[in-house]
Symmetry: C3
Subunit: 291 residues, 3 copies
């Protein structure tokens, strides 16, 4: 069983994953007693997702291998498939993979016979991130149906935006997007941020990737913050029960003001916490054992 993209899961299956994550949050214990090995293969820099999966595996009593793509046979020109097949042959029990290429997993799934958990593919999918976002929303509102959210930032290049937009609509939410026009994605309900901010239950910010899009991006950090950044004054315009989310890492004083990061509407670090429970649920699900 693989976890490649949320489209492969029914709404009921998604709710079952959230339920299992909630159980882990409430103290459910599973201990694989060192008998399962999880290999984390990260071909792109990551703190949060990588170590979140690592922590999740350790908490389940699994052993982990952390593959350092910078110091490996990839330097010798080995293909992704051959690297992944090698880890399968080692006898590891599941693979957590992040790669820059969209749908990299298509070249793997037919010939790899152990579970693959997609930890992000290019600008495509990031299922565990979406699931932790959903868990955070469900904890807050107890439902998805009827909620309104706006996702703000570089929609076009964001796997978080792509994955969340679709799944949130499927779950009954109304989802808008906003941000610089050069990053607008057709068919994604584009609105002006200041026109929608007082009407939504969830403001989901995306990271400004200045290191990737230096040339393309028209705004300076200051201009971005002024036009699309979540400042204290914008927070004041939000609904009473509305919450702020961000997949992190975030740029303080660019997409989010320094003093908003840990304000009472922010669920940003709670998302990090939920990420571990979601990944425990996913790992336990694919390892397929009740112990």
């Amino acid at each position: 069983m693989n976890v490649l993209k949320l489209e492969d899961f029914t709404t009921q299956e998604i709710n079952e994953i959230l339920d299992l994550a909630e159980e882990f949050k409430n103290g459910k214990k599973v201990d694989y007693q060192g008998k399962k090995i999880i290999a984390n293969l990260f071909f792109e820099p990551s703190t949060r997702t990588h170590y979140s999966f690592d922590t999740a595996a350790l908490r389940l009593g699994c052993r982990t291998q952390n593959f350092d793509a910078g110091n490996s046979s990839l330097k010798k020109g080995e293909t992704l498939y051959d690297t992944v097949k090698t880890f399968e042959m080692f006898g590891v029990d599941a693979l957590v993979i992040r790669h820059t290429e969209n749908e990299y997993y298509k070249q793997l799934v037919n010939n790899i016979h152990i579970p693959i958990l997609n930890a992000g593919d290019g600008t495509g999918n990031h299922p565990s991130q979406s699931l932790l976002d959903l868990l955070t929303i469900r904890q807050e509102f107890g439902k998805f149906q009827g909620l309104k959210a706006v996702i703000v930032g570089d929609i076009r290049h964001s796997r978080v935006a792509h994955t969340n937009f679709k799944i949130m609509q499927r779950l009954g939410m109304t989802v808008y997007t906003s941000g610089p026009l050069e990053y607008k994605e057709e068919g994604y309900n584009y609105v002006e941020f200041d026109d929608i901010i007082d009407k939504v239950d969830v403001v989901m910010l995306l990271r400004v990737q200045h290191e990737r899009h230096e040339e393309e991006m028209k705004e300076t950090k200051q201009q971005y913050h002024q036009q699309f950044g979540l400042s204290s004054s914008r927070v004041k315009g939000m609904k009473d029960q509305a919450i702020i989310m961000h997949p992190a890492p975030f740029n303080r004083n660019v997409e989010i003001a320094d003093d908003v990061v840990e304000c009472n509407k922010s669920r940003i670090f709670k998302q990090v916490q939920n990420g571990v429970y979601i990944r425990m649920a996913l790992l336990h699900m694919v390892l397929g054992e009740n112990v």
Copy 2:
């Protein structure tokens, strides 16, 4: 007890290691219960050997440390001996070391009092690789005596070629080498690849190290593939029971055609699998405990 080069082991000892590896393949369980720490010190990039040793140690219930040579005191000019002595002083139970220098271990063995497993020294030795090759051959043919093998590629710079040529001859095999003339090694039975391919039981390919020998190498990748690469048509000329081996990582369509990598004569990924059993056997042997 160290594992530095196969010349240090009698034929009987080598067969005992293969037997122990076979037992691990057949399910033998050993659990050091986290009480042994293995430090993997890799001063040269490696996926296969590094993580194969790591997996082997984890499966034996050992804990592992993976020393990142790129982010270490080596940057501060520390000698190899001083780095290795430091890990001995930490109290780790065995060291797995790969280094670019031939016979690097000579500067270590007199003053380091815990087991060293050589995971490759320069162009010299790679004992665990040879042992997994031997295990793969023995599984296939049930013996070594009388078998014929050809090793094809950059013989001169290959520790796999050097180690295998000697040990296979000792075990009663007839070993030939082939490949570009500029990499021919004197005294290593050089033959034309196409003259020998229909007569051998084992075709062992070596990786073309284009990243190392860009200037020296006379052939383009295409020319190499045409002259020395294992294509489908060359495979058709092989004996019925003959097998294809490669220490990996391999360059698809250079030394081996894409569609040959996983053909029915190929044992390449089986070698990877056997590598873990061999390394479990070696670690268990040097840890010197029956638990």
Copy 3:
């Protein structure tokens, strides 16, 4: 409970830590059975301190995470606080942090609610190193009161020198410093090395950081060795019971002659060994559990 700098601990507390380390040296067993996770966050290269903490945690039966600062979200501009907060949210049980910035921990302590062990901050503090130095001295002389030590090298940039100078004085030792005049620190009892070497019980050498101070440093390696290096002939001038210490890594034939490194007065590798016991004591202390 944090371990940030030794000034925060009373003399009695320091002696209790040394006592606990001594107990671990004498075989005391503690096993957290994989239930505690220690994250090692190293934002500066380190072999000794990093893997010493890692070994200490593994020997206590903890699981460890080794954060690769070079391959992380720091590349995406994340602040130190946000990275550290993320690990807290993951639910790890303690953090071991090294960072280039002096007193980096001041920005953390108010909002991070799990123990932080400072593994070195800029040119400021390095409490676990000082404690292992103290343990080595106490093992040798059974006391601190009345002992004389000289610290030789780049005093100004050395967190070892700064931390040791203060704590050794507090414990009743007389401490001198020596080395190149351009690295002299005011108020640190500067003396000529050759005037004091026959009068001290402890000669503590510091590493010459040629990679950092290439321009500033006036001496070549040869000149340094002649003026401040511990040569065999200088060793002959030392008191009979006097010992040689170095926090390592060391430059052979710069601050210390090749044949002095493991001479009978040297405690350099014993310091490495003691480092693991000290870190076991510190980790056990902050984890706050008797198991």
